[in-house]
């Protein structure tokens, strides 16, 4: 496992909460790819009660453990704050639940380094043109509620920003340092950092570029997808989108 050194300028953030069963499949594919990128990996454990932390330790992945369960949004912001404190130039966040195909870390980082955008968004809805990259398994379609939410957020974003973002709920995103600094502020929407964050970033003149990625279903339904949470999620993000549109530009 690559040493965690201060000389590296790329940080891959892996938020984790009780993902032991997913990590067993994900880490063997993810770790070699991250090593190829010459990137540091930092896992953020959001107070997991299962074997997630031990699994991460077995791959020698440095892990910040929250002292209480704070939620996905706060976990990734912890990663951003760490990246800012340690002068990382680029951050890529990838979910530890196996939904995101780690092979797309390369193109995300390439686009960041080329300056194609301040934020490189991995979209499951754009077609992958690289013939060599075939999906490992059946691709993720999303539950009906989730799909309704995605179409709704897409439409609202299009109306409010005139910008088309095909996948406004993706968690597979790369940022440059300017964006990391911005996301460490209280502007960050930490309960469900999705479409409303894109709106805030666009209004603050950050450039967003989407690239195609593969996403797979999570065979263990996360806590965000259970019960009434999806309905609350759609309501909250819609409300946040509409309120964010009338806020002044954040300074």
């Amino acid at each position: 496992m690559k040493q965690f050194t201060d000389d590296n300028k790329v940080l891959i953030i892996l938020p984790v909460h009780n993902e032991a069963s997913n990590l067993e499949d994900f880490l063997p594919n993810f770790v070699p790819i991250a090593q190829d990128l010459n990137a540091d990996i930092l896992a953020i454990d959001d107070y997991s009660s299962d074997n997630s932390v031990n699994l991460l330790a077995s791959y020698q992945i440095p892990t910040i453990s929250h002292i209480a369960q704070m939620g996905y949004g706060i976990a990734i912001q912890t990663g951003y704050k760490y990246a800012l404190r340690n002068d990382y130039d680029y951050v890529i966040q990838i979910d530890g639940d196996g939904q995101h195909d780690p092979r797309f870390l390369h193109p995300i980082l390439d686009h960041l380094k080329k300056g194609a955008g301040d934020i490189i968004v991995g979209s499951r809805f754009l077609p992958v043109t690289d013939q060599q990259l075939t999906p490992w398994k059946k691709l993720y379609k999303g539950s009906p509620v989730r799909r309704i939410g995605i179409y709704l957020f897409r439409a609202i974003l299009r109306i409010l920003t005139a910008q088309k973002i095909s996948d406004p709920t993706t968690g597979f995103i790369g940022y440059n340092r300017k964006v990391i600094r911005f996301l460490c502020s209280n502007c960050f929407s930490f309960d469900f950092p999705d479409a409303d964050m894109f709106l805030i970033l666009i209004r603050n003149h950050f450039k967003i570029k989407e690239i195609p990625v593969y996403m797979y279903p999570n065979h263990n339904t996360g806590y965000l997808h259970r019960g009434c949470k999806p309905i609350w999620y759609v309501f909250k993000v819609t409300l946040s989108l509409l309120i964010s549109s009338i806020r002044s530009r954040e300074t």
């Binding site: 892990t63 910040i64 453990s65």
Partner: protein, 136 residues
Amino acid sequence: MLSLPFRQEMFSILCGIFLLVIVVELIRSRKLLEQYSVIWFLIGLLCLTYYWWYPLAVHFTRYIGAGNTPSTILFFGLLVSLLIIMQLCIKITEFTHQIKDLVQEISILKFELKQSINAQKKDQIETESETKSEQN
């Protein structure tokens, strides 16, 4: 009726005194901060002086065309309760931000401390093994 019956006056004065005593005791025992006690002192004073401002409430009720004075007072009581709840929600939001920042800061510091201790242990082991190989 522009003045209250004697029993109602006494009841409202007793309620006012009771509320004020409770608020003072809560502040004294540090269960309530002074900044959050202002509204409760005001409510206690309002109860205490109910007999005095009741005629004003009667005139106001007639002015707004309401049915009777107690329902006007009840309406404003509910309104004040909602404003208090709103203020508490704002305070909770503030605390949520603060707690979030604290948890993140503590978690990052714990991690950095652990990294630092591991680095020190590694240096110590390397120094000891160098010393042993020199002695040999």
